[in-house]
Subunit: 320 residues, 2 copies
Amino acid sequence: MSVRYGMISVASITDRFMHAVLENGDVITAVASRSLTKAKQKADQYGIKRAYSSYEDVYRDNDVDIVYIAVNNANHSREVKRALQHGKHVLCEKPIALCAEDAEELFTYARKQGLFLMEAQKSLFLPVTQVVRTHIQKQTLGRLHQIEMSASFPNPTAAWMHDPAQGGVVYGSASYTIEYLDYLLAPKQIHTSPMGTKEAGGACDRISMNFLFDDILVNSRISMNGPTQHHAIFYFEKGYIHVPDYWKAREYTLVKGKDHQRFTFPCLYEMKYEAAHVRECLKNGWQESPIMPANRSIRCCSIVDNIMQQLEQVNREEGR
Amino acid sequence: MSVRYGMISVASITDRFMHAVLENGDVITAVASRSLTKAKQKADQYGIKRAYSSYEDVYRDNDVDIVYIAVNNANHSREVKRALQHGKHVLCEKPIALCAEDAEELFTYARKQGLFLMEAQKSLFLPVTQVVRTHIQKQTLGRLHQIEMSASFPNPTAAWMHDPAQGGVVYGSASYTIEYLDYLLAPKQIHTSPMGTKEAGGACDRISMNFLFDDILVNSRISMNGPTQHHAIFYFEKGYIHVPDYWKAREYTLVKGKDHQRFTFPCLYEMKYEAAHVRECLKNGWQESPIMPANRSIRCCSIVDNIMQQLEQVNREEGR
């Protein structure tokens, strides 16, 4: 049985997702954009039957099982709620909400409606992620002691990425780090200490986040100022694992002394693993993903709340 | 005119320094160790005339111009003071003292005695460091926005490295980061926020230090738990500079898009640049190094004080 998707927005990320859905053998029934012209363009491009200029029309479409929401961050909560109201299952781009309270409300509502709701955190479903998780759990390189992550998404053009209330690198990308490591490490406790800077308009343009995931020391840096390296490095007692582009990884290298072993997992569209998981969830009638459950999303939103508060506090103390 | 050195301790670092001194054409007149056997061994090995079992004997030796102090961290202040009392110029391994107050006292005393005193921060004198400094100042890759540093010195065997009052990665190696960047960036303000862990005996075994050097966001990680990458990466608007082994760098790579240019500066003993600088200072009768002056050492000690206090505060708050 194929899953029938409705697309909410035609933002650039939806192209990668639509390719992944089609590659998986699933179906896109409808696509909506505020601009009917853009919706029609996408419909033509991907062989989608219906193009709408209103998201509501997708929510009302009886041939849509699940909607994929990729509007700007500030509207995630609202669109998730509307879709659930109309009885649709929902896959919503990260962050599912801009605060833990909203995230909790959404999942409570989905449960009440008997519908599936998941935050789209594609990195958890990648084959590389599964292998790294096994190395950590089996301690093949000894105990993990430190993790370093670095990423940059320079000069974003979307206006809302420069809006301090929903944009910047923390709302934009901190969940890549937090949910990925929460899945890999399954920590009891997470301690957070960030340092960041703001661009003129007030959005956080560079962040260096220190974490303790139980006793594992983590630093994750994200920038929208210029190019950086893009990787996660897992440092163990006896060596390390290097994962380029950890949020869409297709390879990793295992380093032990002078020995470097590279393993590759080629794929065209990395979101296909996530889409395959969604299909499995729906097929089984699950309302929550066992890999990316409500608690993981809510916990992440709560850590992001905390990071934003800590950054604000530093700014206040220093009169910035 | 050659400089005549007296060596205080035969710790492993002194070998690299003695080679550097001899390669520079300077002279080692005397060497002292608590163990006369060890002192004699070193004297034989390096063709040094006098071997002593007491540091005092070096301070009293009229054929010694300057002493190089490489005892354990807790004894730096005491030995620096004794050497100055006896009228010797002093080059002391990092950290010159375990708190800013002690560092200030030492430099005040050196000034009063009319003697040269410098903390041995070899990284500032490397040719690679000079080139990186020029790239930063001339903005050849645009503005610098972020720096990442990573280093590990796994499983130290010296017992004092596991003493929380003088050992661990902060007292041991934080000055590599702080004094190096203080020199490169010449910041007006430095903000610090560390996260770390302690080994069973209480010494800090892993640290991730966030800094703002004015508006430049820095993360520096140091571990004694296992291998990590060893490098500093300077991220600019238009690319980055990668410096392997930044504290003893012999090469750097300039990355701009897909273009990687590697530049090498081969040398046998990287401390020779530091030794050459010391000779220049003494030849000119300077009591303070223009590259590594008192203020830089005192500022660094004060930041280390701050880091240790912040780590303690977190531990207290969390009842660890």
